[in-house]
Each structure stands twice: as C-alpha cells, then as structure tokens.
Subunit: 411 residues, 2 copies
C-alpha cells in the first residue's frame, strides 16, 4: 500500500518539479483538466498587459512592424515545430483547429486527385468529422467520407482512400495510435495521412518527420497552455508545399499581401496555409505557453505522464474499485496518452461532486469521467490527494446530493 | 480663414466629446488610422485582466459555464446587430472577416442554386477577392468570379449573377455605396447581395434590414475598436436562415455540440454560422469596444464624421494645395465614408514624415495617403493640428529626408 510520503518523495526527485511554480494554480485545487483547457502560465498576464498597453495602446498600427505582429504565426509555428518533430517553415500558428483541418484535408485531396474518399474515425472528436462532412458536401457528390474504428483501419485503409484523417490520442479514451505504423501502412496504399495532434502536442514526444507524416493540425490550448481558444497550428511537410492551393486563400497567404493585387497568388512554403488577420491578443499570449513547453524535456514529460496516469489508475482501482468504475483508457501505457477515462453510469454527478471537492476533471457523454495529467504542473502528490477525495465522495455517497445532478450548458 | 479657436469651439459643442477620455491616446499624437486599427478603449485592459486572472487563471474550464464563454459570439453579435440595423439572432461575432465572407458567399450561392457567378469589385480590399477565388476554385469549373468597378455595376449585375459581393465603403478611396439602391437593383435581377461592412460598422448608420440585405460580414478592429485582429461578424437575414448549411460546419454550429454525435446537424438560426472554438481573450476584449460604440448615437457619429472629413479636405487643399495632392475620396460627403484619401507620387515618404510628426495615417500602394476619422476619439482641434503639421512637413521639405523612404515590411 502506498502512502502520501511515497508521492512526496517522487515529487522531490521530479526533474520537472520546477515548472509548477510557473503556473497560476488555485490553492488546494487539483486541476486534472489540462487536456481540455491548460492552466495559465503566470507570465501570460504580463504578456497580455504588454500587448494591451504598449503594442495596441501606444504603438497602435505601427506594431505590425515594430512588434512583428505579421510574423507571429511563423515565429510561434517554428517553436511548435520543435515540439512535434517538424522543421522550421513547416508549421504556422493560426485560426481554429477545425479551420486548419479543412485546409489540410482539402490540400491532401488535391495532392491525391485520382481518389475521392476521406477515411475518418467515427468516434473521433466530432468537429473533425463535421468539418470534413462540410468539405465533402462542398466538393460534390463524387467525394465521400468513410468512417472506421481502430480495429477496422487495416481493412478500410485501401486503394480507394485519398486521405486518412486521424486523431493520434483519442479525446475520450486517451488511446494513442502508432503514428509511424499507420502512416506507413496508409502511404503503402497510396493514401495521404492528416494527423490531429490536439491531445498529443505537449503531452508526449511526437516526431512528424520521423514518421514521414504528410499534414497535421493541433490546438495550443490544451497541453501547450496557450489560453482559452488560442490559435491552433497546421503542419505541411516540405515535400508537399508549393504544389496546390488550400481553399481558404486569404491575404495573409498571398505572396505579396501589401501589393493589394486583385488576384490571388499563393505565398511560398507554409505561408500559403494562412488566411486572414489573427486575433493578436490571443496569439501573442499563446507564445508564453509554447515557450514554457519548449524549455521542458519532452521525454521527461512522457516519463512523468506515464507514471501519473499509471498511479492514478492503480489508486482509483484499489481505493474506489468497489464502486463500479471501468477503465476505458488502454491499460498498456505505451498505448495511452496523458489522460485517463473511467466509465460509470453515474459519471455526471460523480464528476460534479469531484469538482466541488477541488478535483477538476470533466464528463463526456454518456458515461465518461475524464482526467488529464499535465506533467508541467501536476505533481505526484496531486494524484494521491485526488484519489483520497474521490474515495471520500464515494464512501459518503456525497455525489448523490441533488445539486450535483443539475446539468450545465457546457458539460 | 479658420483659426484653431474655431475648432476648439466645435469641440466644446460636440455631443460626443466625452467619449475621447474613454480611449488610451498618446499625448500629442493625432491618430488618424482608426480605419485600420481602432484605438484602445481604456477599459479593455481591465477586461483582459479579468479574463486572465479570474476566468482563465482561477475558474479555468468552469468559465465555459460561469463566464458564458460559449455565448460570447451571440451576446456580442446581438450588440453589433444594434449598430447595423439587424435584429437579435441575425449576427454572430466569430472568426476573421475573410472566413466569414467564405461562409456568407457559399451560403448565398446555395440559396441561389440555378446560377454560378459571383460579381465582385476588382479594386476591393483584395482578401475578399482572394477568398472567393478560393471558394469558386473549390466548387468547380462551372462557377466563376466576375469583376466590375462601380460604373459598371448597372450593366454587370444581370440575370447570370448569383451573388453580388461588395464592400460598402471602399478601403482606399472611402467611397460609400448606396446599399439600399444596389440591393434593390440586384434583387430585381434575382441576385443575392453580400455586403462587407468593414469600413462602415461604427463609422456611419447602417440599416441592413431597411435595405432588405441578404447577408453581410464586417470586422470589429477598425471603427468598433475591438483590438488588433479581433473577431469579425457575420449577418444572415432571418428569412435566409435554416435553409442551407455553410461549408465550414464545425461543432460550435452543431445543434447539440455537447452530445458529441458523429454526424453534423446544423444548429438553428444564426448559430449555424459558427465553426470552431474562438480565442476567448480577443473575443472578450472586443466587447468593450462594441459597448462603447453602443453608448453613442450613430447619427451624431455620422454628423461629426462628415464635418471632420469635410474640414480636413478643405484645410489640406487650402494649406497644402500647392504641393500637388489630389483628392481621391468623393467630394460629395453623402458618398464618402469616414476616411479621406489623397494621392501623391511621393505619398510614401510624406506619410512616414507625417507619422514621425505625430500625425498617424497610412499609405496604400501605389500612391495613396489615407486618413481615417473616428468621431469617438478624434477632436475637431485634431484636424487643425494635423494639417498644421502636414503643412510644416511640406514647407520644410522634411519628408525628403532619406529615413522616410525606408520601406517597412507592412505598409
């Protein structure tokens, strides 16, 4: 049996322990929802104030030059590239994930013009499916979205498929796909692969170029701690750049945006993936989180993440096992991202009671309790303390208080 | 001949004079570039700090409910609706202008499925043309963009045209189109009209529903003072809602986003125009500028704007007339937005010297000096002072100093 001391000792030995103090965390609260919205780096407030006071307030329109606003998507993109195994000039930070996915899959379809099928995982985070359903409807009736679950990939990735579009870590279960193997398998069938890294970037080592990845997208507001709704990113491998135009062809992707020419001419390289003017306040603040992540060792993050999720599963099962929680995440930690999901018929009120007790996870319909682990700010002692509170809620049946069953607009 | 006293007297009588103190302005600087990036409302800093400290920092993921992040596009949209003659439920604040234009024109094409031509103004702000060129390329070779300048509209708006897509106030010249007359003319030919209000919203009275407008888009970072790159807006008249789906169909536009269903089902009404997660920091701060504008009388704004532009033209022509500036904006103030453009072969270094002297306008290639007038924070005395500095620069030939001819990345 473990004691709290065991976890305190792990914290003392943790090479990442120093990062925790860089984040604004509520005293006494254990935040296990960084897979939905990452915690706020303390320096984000300072950066926002700079943009407000100096850049917008005083320098105003001159900031496009003096504070390099126009270059932010590239500068931040290059930093993200370093976190996901991409090269400089392969990533820009811009727009929302769904918008970038639309660009990426549209691009991939144009790069593979003999085929008309996009293969997606039906249980994926739905907006990905929605966006590509919208794209395909736009392209006409000879285009098609096909759905497959993981066990069907081998069969369904075939010579009809133009583009395989998958999320590496599943938003509900935390299941981690083998990017290298699937990319290779799909490319052998003549497909291109678009990877969604929303739950991988900053959570574990990703090496896009080692996997010979084609295109990818991802968000910065989860493990990269960029702030609520902060701009997403898009990756296009160098070998695919400058061949086709993505459809959202705005002036930021033009080869000479300040020439104000009538007709679109694509910018070189990754710049063509840009569309319109970005919300500078959100974008500038995003960089603070990216910089913090860039200062950490991704292998140390993975090692700690695996330990945190392993201990959490072990403790929940040993201390709350009798209450009928079922592990939904892979037990094999090599196949698990940085989150743990349990199913329970009363998952909703139990999660509300947990949040009330200062253990913040989230609920995903119909019955999933989801816990995310951010090695930069979650400690080992957090795991122990979270499960003690969890056990207390189950033991006292506090989750049955009617207030915990009141549904929120956003769950 | 005028004196400064004349303008000081006008300021004393100005019913909008009290708004100036609500903005962060640099002492001694005359900011005439609010048509590119509006000045910062002082309260924006406080709002940003709330989002940073309380909403993201402390309440974290709970803010989706407790601070109504998910509702911001609607709440701010309804406030914008009040500024442009739209009803509640017809406007959302989301994404960039170009992305919204793509949605709007794609929607309009679907609403008019027998026709395949989009008519645009070739001299329009280029990103509009670029976005629709991208859309049309996506839709296939039977679709077409046609260009017309204002004098050709009567001829070229014909029965082949599905969608007329025009910017009400021209970004270079400040020319104001007659929304009501053009809408009526186009609708008589069976076209739909998509209006771009980037240089109209907050600059002059716009009454979309009185003009029977179909769809519209616009930005919030110019006359609405929402902050650099703040989210844009999109308007769809009630009569056109719920009929077709726009192509960027993301989860924020789903009818039950938290059911996490596999297939897209459009949300009701204006919600279908939403796509993905918004940068909350930029979006929340945008509301401060919209609220300020909402507290002003739009007819008073127009009256003051016309006086400011009229005096500016008169003073530049009388005091700097000998230096060869040519008025590009309409002389008839009923046909002019809230900006004044002069052409001059040496426009670039002259504008740089003006900025150096604390008169901030901007330059648009090849030869346009552009000055925007924001009645909420520009005073009448600003006009007098700006032209005195302008005259001094021309008289002393200071603009010929080599440093003023060094080109910036962003002009």
């Amino acid at each position: 049996m473990y004691t709290r001391e065991h976890f305190e000792k792990l914290d003392k030995q943790d090479p990442l322990a120093g990062f925790r103090d860089q984040f604004a965390l509520n005293p006494g609260e254990i935040y296990l929802d960084g897979n939905s919205l990452g915690a706020r780096p303390k320096k984000a407030a300072q950066r926002a104030a700079e943009v407000l006071e100096q850049e917008w307030g005083q320098d105003l329109i001159r900031s496009w030059n003096t504070h390099h606003w126009f270059e932010l998507p590239y500068r931040i993109g290059d930093k993200i590239a370093g976190l996901i195994g991409a090269d400089k000039g392969e990533v820009v930070c811009t727009d929302a994930t769904g918008i970038n996915l639309y660009k990426a899959v549209a691009t991939a379809l144009k790069l593979n013009p003999q085929r008309k099928v996009v293969l997606m995982e039906g249980s994926n985070f739905p907006t990905n499916n929605y966006m590509i359903q919208g794209l395909v409807a736009q392209l006409g009736s000879d285009f098609e979205v096909r759905f497959a679950e993981e066990h069907e990939f081998a069969d369904k990735i075939d010579e009809q498929v133009a583009v395989v579009c998958l999320t590496q870590v599943h938003y509900k279960s935390g299941r981690l796909l083998d990017m290298q193997a699937i990319t290779e398998q799909a490319q052998q069938k003549g497909c291109l692969v678009v990877w969604d890294l929303c739950h991988s970037a900053g959570a574990l080592p990703v090496d896009l170029n080692a996997a010979n990845a084609d295109l990818a997208v991802g968000c910065t507001y989860k493990y990269l701690n960029g702030g609520p709704g902060s701009q997403a990113f898009i990756f296009v491998a160098k070998r695919h750049q400058n061949k086709v135009n993505q459809p959202l062809s705005g002036w930021w992707g033009h080869n000479a945006p300040f020439n104000f020419e009538r007709d679109y001419q694509p910018g070189a390289g990754i710049s063509q993936m840009l569309t319109g003017t970005q919300g500078i306040l959100s974008l500038a603040v995003t960089e603070v989180g990216i910089d913090l992540m860039g200062a950490a060792d991704m292998q140390q993050i993975r090692t700690k993440s695996q330990a945190l999720t392993r201990y959490f599963i072990e403790l929940v099962e040993s201390q709350c096992g009798e209450y009928g929680f079922k592990l939904v995440s892979p037990r094999d930690e090599e196949r698990r991202g940085s989150q743990v999901a349990f199913s329970h018929a009363d998952g909703y009120p139990i999660m509300q009671a947990l949040i009330d007790a200062g253990v913040v996870g989230d609920f995903r319909a119909p019955d999933i309790l989801r816990f995310g682990f951010a090695p930069l700010y979650n400690s080992y002692a957090d795991i122990w303390d979270a499960v003690q509170r969890f056990k207390e809620i189950m033991l006292t049946e506090r989750w049955q208080e009617p207030r915990f069953n009141q549904r929120h607009a956003v769950t």
